[in-house]
Symmetry: C2
Amino acid sequence: MTTIKIFDTTLRDGEQSPGVNLNNLEKLEIAKQLERLGVDVMEAGFPASSQGDFDAVKKIADTISSSTVAALARANKHDIDRAWDAIKGAEKPRIHVFIATSPIHMQDKLKKTPEEVIDIAVNMVSYAKSKCDDIEFSAEDASRSELPFLADIIEKVITAGATVINLPDTVGYTTPKEYGAMFKYMKAHVKNIDQVDLSTHCHDDLGMALINSIAGVENGATQVEGTINGIGERAGNVALEEMAVTFEIRKDFYPFETNLILNEIKRTSDIISKLTGMVVPGNKSVVGRNAFAHESGIHQDGVLKNAQTYEIITPELVGVTSNSLVLGKHSGRHAFKDKIKQLGFSLDDDKTAVAFDQFKQLTDRKKEVTDDDLFVILMDVQTDIKARLQYQLKNFKVEYNSSTSPTATVSLITPGLNTIEGQGTGNGSVEALYNTIEELIEEEIQLTDFTLSSVGKGKDALAEVHVSMTVDSQPVSGRATAQDVLEASLNAFINAINRVFIIQVAEKE
Amino acid sequence: MTTIKIFDTTLRDGEQSPGVNLNNLEKLEIAKQLERLGVDVMEAGFPASSQGDFDAVKKIADTISSSTVAALARANKHDIDRAWDAIKGAEKPRIHVFIATSPIHMQDKLKKTPEEVIDIAVNMVSYAKSKCDDIEFSAEDASRSELPFLADIIEKVITAGATVINLPDTVGYTTPKEYGAMFKYMKAHVKNIDQVDLSTHCHDDLGMALINSIAGVENGATQVEGTINGIGERAGNVALEEMAVTFEIRKDFYPFETNLILNEIKRTSDIISKLTGMVVPGNKSVVGRNAFAHESGIHQDGVLKNAQTYEIITPELVGVTSNSLVLGKHSGRHAFKDKIKQLGFSLDDDKTAVAFDQFKQLTDRKKEVTDDDLFVILMDVQTDIKARLQYQLKNFKVEYNSSTSPTATVSLITPGLNTIEGQGTGNGSVEALYNTIEELIEEEIQLTDFTLSSVGKGKDALAEVHVSMTVDSQPVSGRATAQDVLEASLNAFINAINRVFIIQVAEKE
């Protein structure tokens, strides 16, 4: 068995998914879970792209110890300096330098000759190497590059100090045979290739990210880049959980394994789905909620007779547990703390107190408090969804009557601790709420997306709302969970607005 | 170029997705769209499984003319009789007989010897052939069957009259090399194999449904079975739109094509997603809404300089149009009828009148009525979501105040045309509504899932609610669209209850 290193780029390529805007605490929480999942490398961000990204990468680098923390940089000194400044505190830092190598990208985007591109790549890898031992070089759009040129530039950047060579299928265009052949070619034609890890990076535009990655591995790649849930630019990256589970289930066929802790997969998938607002569809391989469900009578009959008739992956393998009932009205703080640990959270005393309060409030109103419910509470508290509020909701009222327009009344506490109140109407009750709050605050708001889903089953399930909007032309998203759809809708809206303030403050600092 | 036949099983395997319960009008609407998309064969259902399924298959068989309509049957006379009765009115009927051929399925599920399985298969194919010229035979769990046995049974069922042989990867366990090798083996060892179409049927449990299907095609398969959006049992089937687009985009590499009208893909995907309630994730290949979005600054810059730097599929290819503004307050019936045609709907006069009324109501309340909005109205009218109501909503009221419990008042008109009214509370406003209505009607209801999404952008977007529940232990789903989340929630609930009545009436008839 060859162990394939897992390079997770959920926080960089995944975070580039349209509509995804994670704050730094959310990124940190994802990073901690990725470490628990056992990723060998996590790409924490692109520090030169914004101050917010820099701060997030630094915070992650300073926190994570067992995984390598990588930062992306274009092939220029400024980007490399910013990347290094962000990650130099990490136990295992890596600078990830990239430049495009395909004719179309060099001509039309970079407007450079191939010789110029080689010079830049070699110089910038050397420059990065003067700061950091572990340097990954990516030949962007490798799958549309000319093989001899690619071999040439790779050999030279390895000589310049690169420790990992990544050959991305940037546009998701390749097929397994072509992608595998590229790796085979490099193994045969680059004389110092055995000094480095070769890496795949595949996009799913044609639905082949997984098999292309496997083809790379079968032809010499020892690192696979991807994301959890397959999020990322356009159709996304390869879903790492699919690769790891395929290698596990088909170890009779594929002589590869990864260091991922497979029963952390479901939890990781849930956290990333909730925090990014990127829904995992029911029919998603490995982590979709139907993946282990058997609907037709024929299948159910078969599974009862012998599960293996229709089930090749057990739910337990990837950490899916039946939604156990936990803790009730009479549970005390001690039992609550035990449960927090069991669910894998590590909260400080203040946050534990806040979470316990919220749990108690919920037990007053909901008969069955499930692990799912607790997970939402703990995640909200951990990522400080309420603690850093600028605008705070004091109270609100909605009157809906099918024969007239809905009316909303909202009281807010402003950042200056004044109470402001307004009333408004709309064609729907959420619109009435949003109209009212827009009148109350000064920012220019455009709502671009609104989704609401239930957490768990039954009519007393929690409502989880995710909104995307632009506030003064800046894209931002917000989320909130409550037992009432109107309350969750209103809080998600306020949460999004508050995030703009947090970003603005961070950029001034 | 070899033309590969597309066998769509959205209405059979896709409809087996947990939580999906389509009524007959919805199935018919999907069937009509599949015909427009140009599928060679559509599997309309499994007539022996229930009277409802039988009726749906019959209605589809009687309506569709250019695609073959197939009906599934286990290898027994009763199933085959039911299948034939349902499809005999079709222009191009096909009976699809299956029996399992893997050791585990034969021993543990069927409890038959291999010889018995061959006898049954041959006899039942002959029996089906006595009714229908076009007979497909599926060797269930073929990918875990022994190759010589599989070759033996195939040869015999071809002699018995099968015209299509399907070799499914029922549990989604295979890899492209193994699956391709199976087809190659059959081409080499079954002497009458060239008399039939060989078919793939792949599930996505390990994320390899697409590449496995392609491997089958590369080794002699001339038919591919799958679904739109890849819905289906567990992780679903191969997504047919991904296969068709891959063959189009990579025709330089793959010498295959399909008869699908590619620019009908998006519309087909939308219809199926809306009617099944199976959400298409943003990062889904080909049809996800991010598939053509470019988020990072680097990518945006590249696309502006030359779209092909990062874009290999144009939105237009698959029928994605920018969300054009259409029709306003002052648009008349004539313009509205033109628009209906343009959107691909064919409504009778009564339904046109209902749709026009709803459109007018919407223009009173919503500044910009988009194609998306109209699509929802037309689809609701076309699938009779309101016309067949048993319980009808008269009016309702909700009062929400953050300091007390929400209160709901609901008036319903019963199937006997009486008005009943009730009041109730809950921990959330939707719960209050649902509690109230549950008190008003007699059935035993368990809500199992609730999702709400916005149609289009902005705070005056329509709210689309999809609920799944059991009513007197019978699983059913409902959906509704309205400009208010509470109204949509209530109507979806009532819609689900009414569907139970429709099913009960259909079963009595």
